[in-house]
């Protein structure tokens, strides 16, 4: 789910997740137990995600189209039409704002928001200090606030 949150495109996320498990399988002997297996696996996945984001920058339009498909497939119960329009616009703006973050800022936001990870665990996964995680989260939230203040 974290990988989908970072890459958004479900096909790309599936590829990256499979590659992450495959690399973990190949490099299992290099796991020395210094961190939890969970953290180690996340570190592999996040590194592949960040590499993938740098290599293949998809256009925001493509992201939005793929997300629209996902939401259409969810068959949400019909509610107040105004609310639906507002929600849809908010989703689009939010995805666009997250997409504009740097891969490092996106990683801390997604790990914290989706997994509720501690700063210590996020730091271990990303190879940085807890202070850096705190700083990145602060600036990522400021950027999101700047772009979403009119919608939340």
């Amino acid at each position: 789910m974290v990988i989908v949150g970072l890459l958004r495109n479900p096909d790309d996320a599936m590829e990256v997740a499979q590659e992450s498990f495959f690399r973990a399988y190949r490099k299992i002997t290099s796991f020395q137990g210094q961190s939890s297996f969970y953290t180690w696996l996340y570190r592999i996945a996040i590194n592949i995600c960040i590499d993938h984001q740098r290599r293949e920058k998809r256009s925001p339009l493509e992201f939005r189209e793929s997300m629209d498909e996902v939401f259409e497939q969810q068959n949400e119960v019909a509610r107040d039409p105004f609310s639906d329009v507002h929600d849809r616009e908010l989703r689009e703006k939010m995805l666009s704002a997250i997409d504009d973050l740097t891969p490092e800022h996106k990683a801390v936001i997604v790990l914290r928001t989706l997994e509720g990870m501690s700063y210590k665990d996020i730091g271990e996964i990303l190879g940085c200090s807890e202070g850096t995680v705190m700083s990145r989260l602060h600036y990522a939230r400021k950027k999101l606030q700047h772009k979403l203040s009119a919608f939340l």
Binding site: M1, F22, L114, S118, Y119, E130, H138
Partner: protein, 180 residues
Amino acid sequence: MSNCETTRETIGAWLDGELAAAQAEATSRHLEVCAACREERHWLERLHSSMRSVLEANGSEIQFEPFWQGVQRRVAQKRNWYDELGDRIRGTFSAPRLAWAIPAVIVIVLAGLSIDSFFPSAKIGIQSDNLATVESIDAYGRNVALLHEGETNTTVIWLYQPQESENDSSTEPSETKPSF
């Protein structure tokens, strides 16, 4: 008591439960008395819950059966040597390692340049007889030349004379064509 600016910088970490006890206490006390910072807190909470629901909606589409099939397929298939090589190169030259590589290269180059100073007899670094120098060739500093001084002879590689000094000058350069 912390002020608004300090509180707004730490309020996210406070909501995450990641502040030290004293700092968390100061933030709590400030929030009790500051309406603007309370509004900031509520905004961050709305952001967190909205973002979570948007991201979870995306992740709920994962199909686990094809996922594991894909992992199994990768394990079963033999990887090409160039894929392995590509992985190693990407791992070696990933951004965090490059950040260390740049100062390391600078240190190595500087060490190479200064090695002659420490071991003059070793002749390992850049040899001084391979260097050319720019020197003035008259008493006034108007005519300058790029000179290569070897052990046995001196070669003028390039000569610069201002227009008026060229007319006045009676000396002819021994070699005025550029050597390279």
